[in-house]
Symmetry: C2
Subunit: 186 residues, 2 copies
Amino acid sequence: MSTAHKRQKDPQAVRQLLLEVAADLCVEKGAAGLTLDAAAAAAGVSKGGLLHHFPSKADLLFGLLDDMIARMDAAIAEAMRADPEPHGRFTRAYVAVTFGTEAMAEDARWKAMTMPLLAEPALRARWRDWIALQAELHVGTDSSLDCELVRFALDGLWLASVLESHPMDPAQAERMKQRLFDLSRG
Amino acid sequence: MSTAHKRQKDPQAVRQLLLEVAADLCVEKGAAGLTLDAAAAAAGVSKGGLLHHFPSKADLLFGLLDDMIARMDAAIAEAMRADPEPHGRFTRAYVAVTFGTEAMAEDARWKAMTMPLLAEPALRARWRDWIALQAELHVGTDSSLDCELVRFALDGLWLASVLESHPMDPAQAERMKQRLFDLSRG
DNA sequence: TTAAACATACCGTCTGGACGGTTTTATTTC
DNA sequence: GAAATAAAACCGTCCAGACGGTATGTTTAA
């Protein structure tokens, strides 16, 4: 990192930029509507450059999903660290992350991108694996009926926010959030 | 209708068949992956024939969504008719429909198809309109916090069933269903 | 010197849909 | 009610553009 400003080329940054612009295009046009030409142009690199980082379009999409899962993991882990009560801790972290504690605008893109990605049948396996892993990790503390119900509701809320189908004012959102927290404590 | 068996051509049936095979292909390949050639071939008509019923691919996709919404409306209306208690009636109908009271295999296709369709940004407006209409129709009886929470949970459950991410045995599903019914009564 | 990190040019395929026919059904006219 | 006419319901062909990916050259960093 100390020499980052000296390097004229920063492959990691280029890769990250590619993922970001690809995410934007994915939100706008869908996963299949995302083209390599458009992504490369938006990132200011040639298509050859893009294909150097992601050898195929499938690799790019997998990269997007993996990045998204990594962000999700990190956010949940951080939210769990601040919660002393074991029962329902994972579920409450899920609440906090879904309602976006921090930079909303920043990760709104990643939330919106998930929809087109999951619509692509080829990408669902990775998502399923992650869900199964979480379920296995937090069995015992978060497998009560109400905890599961809360997490389903959060998925529904996420869906609504992506589709912009259920506009909610902040007060309403806060009440919902509190109710979900309460249910997670059983 | 009395002469239906005499007609050699049945445009309505052809149109319906086109929608059904298109739904299947949409589930398999996604909305963008659905090709006119494949749909026409699967329905046993030429591409020209398909384009006669649906002048463009967008029209076909809109047709799919409209058909899906119509089925949803009919199923919900029927479920509501059997419920004497006004408060939360729409929400309970939503529960019943989501958990699939009747021919599961038949409408499983239409549930699965919704995902790729909603992933297509161009189609979301119609969906939003339907949601807004439902909210307007049942304000007063179904706008309590818990009713909204239940409906969000149902959307989450629908998502899980489409993605096959949260396998549930029948007993578990029944408990969840009852819990959601209870919450809808407040 | 070597490999990574790009750029440029190009190709084969796929796909939406335009277009001009042809057959079937409905409607009108005589 | 038969002929004529119009309109709907298709079929087969072709094409222009888009898109993923390859092959190859060039520059930059180690």
